[in-house]
Amino acid sequence: MGYDLFPHKSGNGGVEPIALIGHNVCVKYSNDNHYRRVIWFEPIPPFQFLDIGAINAGITSNRIQAENLQLWRNEFAQIRWYPLDTAQVRLFLPSADGRYNLKNTQVPIDPTIVDRDPCLHLTEFFVWEDRNPAFEAINYTAVNITTCRLVGMGYRYVTESLPETDISKIKAGTLQCTNIVASGFSGKP
């Protein structure tokens, strides 16, 4: 059984949910695989989830925890985001683990992302329970900025655990499951 829902999907300009009620997911966080079934979900409309604050010209801010993106137990979120102000912003999830990584560069996101990737699908990340991301911004301009606001949107999912029999079927490839990466890569889970 397959679904036409998957991570980082480029839809018609919007964010599609990664799973619906009754779908199985495997939330990968660090070295753990959390096999879950979605029992409820709701959209999270665009909102400012973090203001890193004032940053002087050419300066990199401290790494700031985005605690507004924390969830309750057994929940995960699918978030796409963009910065409103002139800064290159790096994502860390968890705080010590840089995301969008290449061998020599951690790729930042700046305000041009809304033109270069209008549906923001390449910014998408997932949050497991209260393991919120952190952000660090470089004011690349020659003028001080007074705010560094990040806007996010997506979906919040409530899940329940799966019985061992279903997990075995998922591992055997006979039961549908959508894999969701909610942290940086730290070895094969």
Binding site: Q48, P118, T147
Partner: protein, 123 residues
């Protein structure tokens, strides 16, 4: 989806500038800062109307703050007595302000100014 980083277009009230000088700068658009509001708002001036009510030919300053804290957002605008000026989006630099917008004329003579600003409130 380019509108993702645009704001909500809003107009300020018609505000009378009855006194001259930076110490008399008056708020012409108040930035939203309501308690409990999620996020921080900033302002970009998109349109500006200035009516000179017989105040003589003089400069009108648009910026933030008042007195010693006043900072021009755009160069001062020259106003001719008994005329109305209309500056539209393409006349105005995309200056983004994170404070209430204020204005003052350098002189008022025996008249005054009426000013109205339209902004993009972002965030």
């Amino acid at each position: 989806m380019k509108v993702l980083n645009h704001g909500k277009r809003r107009a300020g009230a018609v505000t009378n500038l009855a006194a001259a000088g930076v110490a008399a700068a008056v708020a012409i658009f108040t930035r939203s800062t309501a308690g409990g509001m999620v996020g921080t708002k900033t302002l970009k001036i998109k349109r500006l109307k200035i009516r000179n009510n017989g105040a003589g030919n003089t400069w009108v300053h648009i910026g933030t703050g008042t007195g010693g804290t006043f900072v021009d957002a755009v160069p001062a605008l020259y106003s001719i007595s008994n005329t109305t000026d209309d500056y539209q989006e393409f006349d105005l630099p995309e200056v983004e302000l994170n404070a209430t917008i204020t204005a003052y004329p350098e002189a008022v003579g025996t008249g005054s100014f009426d000013v109205q600003v339209e902004v993009d409130e972002i965030g």
